[in-house]
């Protein structure tokens, strides 16, 4: 519903109705008159899909705020190559609908390129649409490994850190706190593409470093009550509970784990800062990984956080950030090559140009799997009373890898990857 409204308001703002009238008049005067084509092509159209409903909906709402902010800033500063951009943003709903909408954006809306998504299963179907139509797709928030490995394709680039990087970053934190070696681990895994992928990487890391598995349970994406799982955890008597959950699941789990007050240490291989805020202080514990946080000490992050707070009155989280930088990265690349041509864009990005991601070090898309290489972080929870604002209870680590280590340190190597383009 809200999308429809957004779409109409954009169309009206850009003088959509008048344009249609003009086009109609022109068409009546001279069939196929080039004026129609010109009036349609003066803006660069970009198709954006992200889940606004369902268990990832809360994150998708942040993504829309982030990308709208980038759109506004870019247009206010004169657009790209002197042309304004027009973002068409819709709820991707589920993998099937995501593909249908992506196809429609390519065929009917004639978008120059596609970007977005958080749900790995939906990103996968959009990637197929991108490959079929030879249209560029920047997958912004999907983290499943297979997307950049067995399922990789020439037309798709990946912005967010893949699960292997999350596991390796999280693993550094766990090793530091002595939570791996000799631990009996109980895994809870979200029952969809991303969760399965995350579980595979997590178990690999943990067993390689001397942990054993005492339990491993799948949770449907719409699980809201975790009490039967909590009973099973207690039954298994683990020494570490590791979650491979996504979206709303993590928040519900964290709240109910605090409710039951089970004594086992908790760690998770996936948590977005918005999920952590929703769980609230006093409920969250353990170590978690993240791709970005609001306290990164760079002028870019400071300006983004201040601008977002001013515009929306709330703190941005990592999906707001990733959509914001993704659009900026794309437009910077287009500006560099002075073209929206998808093949030229791909060739350019495969040269591994560096992009400012508002972090300490710049990032680049690795040429052979199109994966953005960048810093990651872990976070723990501050002691009660050591913070004032409700969103300020997370304690973030220094960037991983360290400044003197290569950015690709945590990523799968070419030998481990099954990507062939």
């Amino acid at each position: 519903m809200s999308n429809d409204r957004q779409d109409t308001s954009i169309a009206l703002r850009s003088g959509g109705r008048r344009k249609v009238l003009q086009a109609g008049v022109a068409g009546a005067l001279a069939l196929g008159f080039p004026a129609i084509v010109r009036s349609q092509s003066d803006k660069i159209k970009i198709g954006h899909l992200t889940p606004l409903t369902g268990f990832l909906g809360a994150l998708g709402q942040y993504a829309v705020l982030g990308i709208r902010m980038a759109e506004e800033e870019i247009n206010a500063s004169g657009g790209v190559m002197g042309r304004q951009i027009e973002l068409i943003s819709e709820d991707s709903v589920n993998p099937t609908t995501a593909a249908t909408k992506a196809q429609r954006m390519v065929e009917q809306d004639r978008v120059a390129l596609l970007l977005g998504e958080i749900n790995s299963a939906s990103a996968k179907t959009i990637m197929q649409v991108a490959a079929r139509n030879k249209r560029f797709f920047l997958s912004t928030g999907a983290r499943s490994d297979v997307l950049r490995s067995a399922n990789c394709n020439r037309y798709t680039f990946h912005m967010d850190i893949p699960v292997t990087v999350m596991v390796n970053a999280e693993g550094q934190g766990l090793l530091r706190d002595g939570l791996v070696k000799g631990r009996k681990v109980f895994y809870l895994t979200s029952d969809y593409l991303f969760g399965h992928d995350l579980a595979k990487a997590a178990k690999h890391f943990m067993s390689e470093h001397g942990a054993t598995t005492v339990g491993d349970e799948l949770c449907a994406t719409d699980v809201t009550d975790f009490s039967p799982y909590l009973l099973k955890i207690r039954q298994a008597q683990p020494t570490l509970v590791a979650t491979n959950l996504g979206g709303n699941q993590v928040t519900n789990f964290v709240k109910q784990y605090a409710e039951f007050g089970l004594p086992y240490a908790v760690a998770g291989f996936n948590l977005n800062t918005a999920d952590a805020w929703a769980a609230g202080p006093g409920n969250l514990s353990g170590i978690w990984p993240t791709v970005w946080h609001q306290h990164i000490d760079t002028p870019g992050t400071k300006a983004f956080v201040a601008g977002f707070l001013k515009k929306y009155g709330k703190m941005p989280e990592n999906h707001a950030w990733i959509e914001y930088v993704s659009l900026r990265v794309l437009l910077q690349a287009m500006n560099d090559i002075k073209s929206t041509d998808n093949d030229k864009l791909i060739a350019h990005l495969e040269q591994q140009p560096q992009f400012d991601l508002l972090k300490t070090r710049k990032g680049y898309f690795r040429s052979w799997d199109h994966q953005m290489q960048q810093e990651a972080y872990t976070f723990t929870v501050k002691k009660p009373g050591s913070y004032k604002e409700a969103w300020d209870f997370l304690q973030f680590s220094a960037p991983i890898p360290k400044p003197d280590q290569p950015l690709e340190l945590l990523s799968p190597t070419r030998e481990q990857s099954e990507c062939k383009m």
Partner: protein, 291 residues
Amino acid sequence: MQFLFLAEQVVNGLVLGGYYLLIALGLSLIFSVGGVVNLAHGAFYALGAYASLEIAKYLGFGPAVALSPVAVGLLGILFERFFLRRFYTADPILGLLVTFGLAMIAEQAIRMIWGAAPLPASMPQALKGSVILGDFIFSRYRLLLIAIVALVLAGIWLLLNKTSFGRVVRAGIQRPDMVAALGIRLQPYMTTIVVLGVAMAALGGALFAPIALVYPAMGAEIITVAFVVVVIGGLGSFWGVVLAALLVGVVRGVTINFVPAAGEASIYILMFLVLLFRPRGLLGERIEKFE
């Protein structure tokens, strides 16, 4: 050992069922009295959660849980007076459509007022943790929750079965024309039942806020389960709904024990089976005006 653990899952399922009951019973009551399947019921559950968070800012957790149903119940008066009342005798599909529309409006309104992101909600520290009875573990908070549900349930049962108010309501369900012939206006009774149903949903929202996600779509999430419970129990049957709520909780818990991935699907399979073999629900009565 395995048997004991299964028993623990069953008991835990009963506790969860008690919570479903809070939402489903109101839905069932409103249907029995007015003949409208209130798809906006989930919206009152969500409003109950949000209202409790607002009240808790000023008065703390306890008063918030007590006052939130009152506030939402007052809203229920308007809901009954201006919307539901017009559809008691209308084609059931109209009632469905209008309440479905209201549910969507409410969800968007919540999104506009409180934002799309989930709100943090915590219970007092004293209620956290669990109690171990024998081999069973219970969350302290859920024990409190189930005690409240039992009280509400007893109250509603007494009201319906032991008071003159209840007699009129029950008569109104069976033969509204006869009640009218006896010179009794059913209108205020219906308003009261709707307010009670809506307040129960709000109480459910307020109680579940600290242990589940408080976000705009939470109403849509719960209405599905509540509807399944009512259908399994039999539309309009008090004990049917009680039985179905507990059954749904237990079936879900036991399924998660054996086939975790099928936990959420199990309740729909249960509904399917019940509808297949007993279409009117477990304890559904034959009600003349719906035949």
